[in-house]
């Protein structure tokens, strides 16, 4: 069947999604919350990639950031605290045809769900994971999180956090099978979008840590970095992030970094000031657990039955005289 050019254009227009096609309920985050910027970048990604909303699933745990799926007009799963990753793994194993995204907070991922996080990196299942790292527990009203900087005053550390912060980048890069690790900040939307997009296009466990402002509880925590572009180290590369001329003018503190270089990535990841932003590591060669596990065989009733009968045969005692 052939169609005329105007008809084709019309169809393209009709079929090409708008941002509204991905916008769920109105976000209920505080004004100025960095989660809004992450939501905007992700909705843009969905639109640009024309993802079918019914084929897209956003999975989360519990926390302010884990409200994310409610604000998407896709399938969503807002589960329990810390367990977003294993739920997402189950979804992925059952349904390789779905696009799977995960939103998790620094408490959700790096504290209560830390065990799952380590193993999720190792499983390397194809999903895009956003760590909304605001360095504090938002939903439960300002307690220290594993990524809270030492000295941070919170309701559980009124005299300042006792311990050095955990570094989610070095941890992830230290796990066998890490295949995509990037860092973005909520206040540079263009870079955030580029990284979210690169993460989506990577096949495997794409881990994006996003430094996210929590104006409610830590109103000026990120101010020094916000006000001084020099305090952000932008990692650029032909195979990594590329800056628009406009941004390049603002962000002069840049470093060429090849995302294939794991040792360099680890070295960069361990620096907190300036904040490295960009793709630290990418290795498309790591196998995905679901591909290792799924046979791809079509499970018809007859097929399953044949397998069951073969097993039953092994345990069957035929009446005497039976051939």
């Amino acid at each position: 069947m052939t169609i005329t050019a105007p008809e084709c254009l019309l169809r393209l227009y009709e079929e090409h999604p708008d941002l509204e096609d991905y916008q769920g309920g109105a976000p209920r985050w505080c004004a100025g919350c960095g989660d809004n910027a992450i939501l905007a970048a992700v909705q843009r990604l969905c639109r640009d990639e024309a993802l079918r909303p019914e084929k897209t699933a956003f999975i989360s745990g519990i926390g302010c950031s884990s409200r994310f799926p409610h604000y998407m007009k896709t399938y969503g799963f807002h589960g329990i605290h810390g367990r977003a990753l294993p739920v997402a793994e189950g979804v992925r194993m059952a349904r390789p045809d779905l696009h799977v995204f995960v939103s998790t907070g620094d408490g959700d991922c790096c504290s209560i769900g830390a065990g799952h996080w380590i193993h999720a990196v190792r499983y390397n299942m194809n999903m895009t994971v956003f760590l909304h790292d605001n360095h504090v527990y938002g939903l439960t009203k300002k307690q220290a999180s594993p990524t809270s900087p030492r000295g941070l005053r919170t309701n559980t550390t009124p005299r300042g956090a006792y311990l050095e912060a955990l570094n989610p980048l070095t941890v992830t890069l230290g796990v066998q099978n890490a295949s995509f690790v990037a860092q973005a900040v909520d206040w540079i939307p263009e870079i955030l979008y580029s990284i979210v997009s690169a993460a989506f296009h990577h096949k495997g466990f794409s881990f994006v840590r996003i430094l996210q402002r929590c104006p409610k509880f830590l109103p000026d925590l990120f101010d020094p970095w916000l006000h001084d572009p020099q305090k952000v180290l932008v990692l650029t590369h032909d195979n990594g992030l590329q800056l628009s001329p406009g941004l390049a003018k603002v962000h002069k503190n840049r470093r060429e970094h090849d995302p294939a270089d794991l040792d360099r990535a680890r070295e960069i990841a361990s620096g907190a000031d300036p904040i490295p932003v960009g793709i630290l590591y990418r290795n498309p060669g790591v196998p995905c657990y679901e591909d290792l596990r799924r046979s791809g065989k079509l499970r018809t009733g007859a097929f399953v039955r044949a397998g069951l009968e073969a097993e039953l045969d092994k345990f069957t005692i035929w009446p005497q005289g039976h051939a």
């Binding site: 349904r95 499970r299 009446p319």
Partner: protein
């Protein structure tokens, strides 16, 4: 030890292997209980299971029970290392491991003592004891052997010394390893089992090894058979009621795994834990062949969450665990209840609380299964009542889970997990299979929680269905799955989820009563005790006692008609493998007595005065024990009536 020994009446003195017996008389029996016990790793379990399989092929009723040491590598020749199996052989169907053993083959005297102290042998029990130790160079070992031998004989056991290892030496290099097949041959001879079937069974057991291994084991089998024929002065025969149907012989855990295959589920997520693990071992080996996946998660929380994720995405999944793992899954189970995600959770119960007794049987998790998650979290709780039921329970559970969008907990226990019993080979039904995930477009206006006012049921929307997009949440939510803190909406959700149990209850049948529908005493049970309870009730009924029993497969919801059923008896007692306070304790009275789980449920639901008796000894409850309990209960009730 001496008390135990002294308690055994002297019937027969022990003896050395007698002179060759020719044309010996064959004693016909209706049943016999055999134990084969060794240090762990000496193959007594293979011997016992093979014996069971051969007898089953001859058409005998069989129940085999594994005797499992708690440690992986217990010291050799130690009482705590006793490992092996009990095989109950009979003319009719065997539904439990019975009371005490009639005949035992022991590879050393220490493992024998372990079972003796546990009271597992009948007075006058025949003991076939490896004689190697008599002349052991270690003086202490030899002395221990001689002492035990003498005491056993004095206590009335019929002890026969068998030079198993010596006899095997001429046949295999490692005679220690061959003794189990020699013992099998001996037992086949003693029970007049068909040697041809025995050879086939050995070939099966070692089928994966090369022909040389099979031949060597067949030679051992024949040697054992020949030795028993020539050296022992007795022989038995247990007539078989031939079955015309093909049967399968598996333990409860394998039956569970086969049930998973047959149910059409394709994802099982688990974390290793005794005694559940062997189900996943078996499944790991076979599931992939039919396109399934066993995912060993990083912990039980992850396993349960993984299964929930798969179920949410349209493939109803199962997670298999035991006590401690079940506790860890509870929060995730609550999520599945709240989100109305179908999920099958199998708990192969072990002794608790905490790490408890990992390899031992207990029925301590019923209330945790019903009420384990916080808040009002109605879920279905079933208990497999036997090995065959392990298979069918999973199929039923998957079906209920998907029909009602509920969590279905299937309880098994360590007794069923490792016991074997033949049952009719299941005949595959297309209806067992899970339907493929619905991917059709959702009709306009339909909402993901359109709860039916009568049944609480709502049609579930699965990812991939156009126009069904919504975010499932563990927070209170309205019909559109929007988070809501409205008092009405919260109540509507809780109300609807609760109604589903009632809707399921309406589809259940009142379980049959074993025995007369009325009488003096009704015994109620659940789970693995069915065989033992019914055997005990049968024995007492034969004596004229007016006792019957009922066994519950559904614990939540309880099926209809239970109250009426109970009211036709003067008294009701539950028999369970969990704790209930003892009346004899001075401090215990009606005001503080903690009842067993099922008794508590029946009392609270039906306002019927249900008594209970329980035991938490880690062993399957024996029919003889139940007989005693029933007699005592009858006596107590009569006494109360007289007063």
């Amino acid at each position: 030890m001496s008390e135990t020994l002294a308690a055994q009446p002297v019937e027969n003195a022990g003896r050395q292997a007698p002179s060759p017996a020719s044309g010996k008389a064959i004693t016909t029996l209706s049943e016999h209980i055999v134990e084969v016990i060794s240090d762990s790793g000496e193959g007594a379990q293979v011997c016992g299971q093979s014996l069971g399989a051969i007898a089953a092929r001859m058409g005998n009723g069989v129940w085999t029970l594994e005797i499992i040491p708690a440690e992986i590598e217990p010291p050799a020749r130690s009482t705590e290392g006793a490992s092996g199996s009990r095989i109950r052989l009979g003319s009719g169907r065997m539904t439990n491991c019975g009371d005490q053993a009639d005949l035992v083959v022991a590879f050393n005297e220490q493992v024998l003592l372990a079972r003796l102290r546990a009271g597992e042998f009948k007075p006058g029990c025949i003991v076939l004891l490896e004689s190697l130790w008599r002349t052991h160079p270690d003086k202490e070992i030899a002395a221990s052997y001689l002492q035990t031998h003498a005491r056993l004989a004095a206590a009335g056991f019929r002890v026969y010394e068998v030079p198993m290892e010596r006899e095997c030496r001429s046949l295999v290099a490692d005679a220690r390893r061959g003794a189990n097949m020699f013992a099998l041959g001996m037992l086949c001879g003693l029970y007049s089992l068909d040697l041809r079937l025995a050879r086939e069974q050995v070939a099966r057991a070692f089928g994966s090894k090369d022909a040389g291994v099979v031949a060597a084991n067949v030679a051992l089998l024949e040697a054992g058979h020949g030795w028993a024929e020539a050296q022992l002065d007795f022989k038995f025969r247990i007539p078989a009621l031939r079955s015309l149907e093909p049967q399968i012989v598996v333990n409860g855990n394998t039956a569970l795994a086969l049930g998973v295959l047959a149910s059409g589920m394709e994802i099982c997520a688990m974390y290793p834990i005794t005694p559940a693990t062997s189900a996943s071992h078996y499944l790991s080996n076979v599931f992939e062949k039919v396109g399934g996946v066993v995912h060993q998660a990083e912990d039980e929380i992850a396993a349960c969450s993984f299964a929930i994720g798969a179920s949410y995405a349209g493939k109803c999944a199962v997670t298999i665990t035991s006590g401690p793992g079940f506790s860890l899954k509870q929060e995730a189970i609550g999520l599945a209840v709240m989100g109305e995600i179908p999920l099958v959770v199998v708990n192969v119960q072990r002794g608790g609380p905490s790490t408890g007794q990992p390899t031992k049987a207990e029925q301590g998790d019923l209330l945790a299964a019903m009420f384990g998650s916080h808040g009002d979290a109605p879920k279905v709780v079933m208990a497999a009542s036997g090995i065959e039921d392990c298979f069918y329970s999973i199929i039923t559970a998957r079906k209920i889970a998907e029909t009602f969008n509920m969590v279905v907990v299937v309880l098994s226990d360590a007794n069923l997990a490792t016991s074997q019993q033949p049952f009719p080979r299941p005949k595959f039904s297309e209806a067992w299979m899970a339907p493929p995930a619905d991917q059709s477009a959702v009709p306009e206006g339909a909402r993901p929680y359109d709860w039916n006012a009568l049944t609480g049921l709502a049609r579930r929307f699965v990812p991939g269905q156009p126009e069904g997009m919504h975010t499932l949440t563990g927070l209170a939510h309205d019909r559109r799955s929007r988070v809501a803190y409205d008092p009405e909406i919260n109540e509507e959700g809780i109300h609807s989820r609760s109604l589903k149990l009632a809707a399921l209850q309406k589809t259940l049948k009142t379980p049959p009563v074993f025995g007369d529908p009325e009488g003096e005493l009704l015994v109620a049970g659940w789970g693995s005790t069915q065989g033992a309870i019914e055997e005990a009730v049968g024995r007492l009924r034969a004596e004229g006692c007016k006792v019957s029993s009922v066994h519950l497969r559904f614990l939540q919801p309880l099926p209809p008609g239970i109250k009426e059923l109970m009211q036709r008896f003067k008294a009701v007692i539950t028999i369970e493998g969990n704790w209930c306070d003892r009346r004899e304790d001075e401090i215990i009275d009606e005001g503080n007595r903690r009842y067993s789980a099922l008794a508590m449920l029946l009392r609270s639901r039906y306002l019927v005065d249900v008594d209970c008796w329980s035991e938490v000894r880690g062993q399957p409850i024996k029919p003889g024990t139940i007989c005693r309990v029933i007699r005592e209960a009858l006596e107590r009730n009569r006494e109360a009536a007289r007063r």
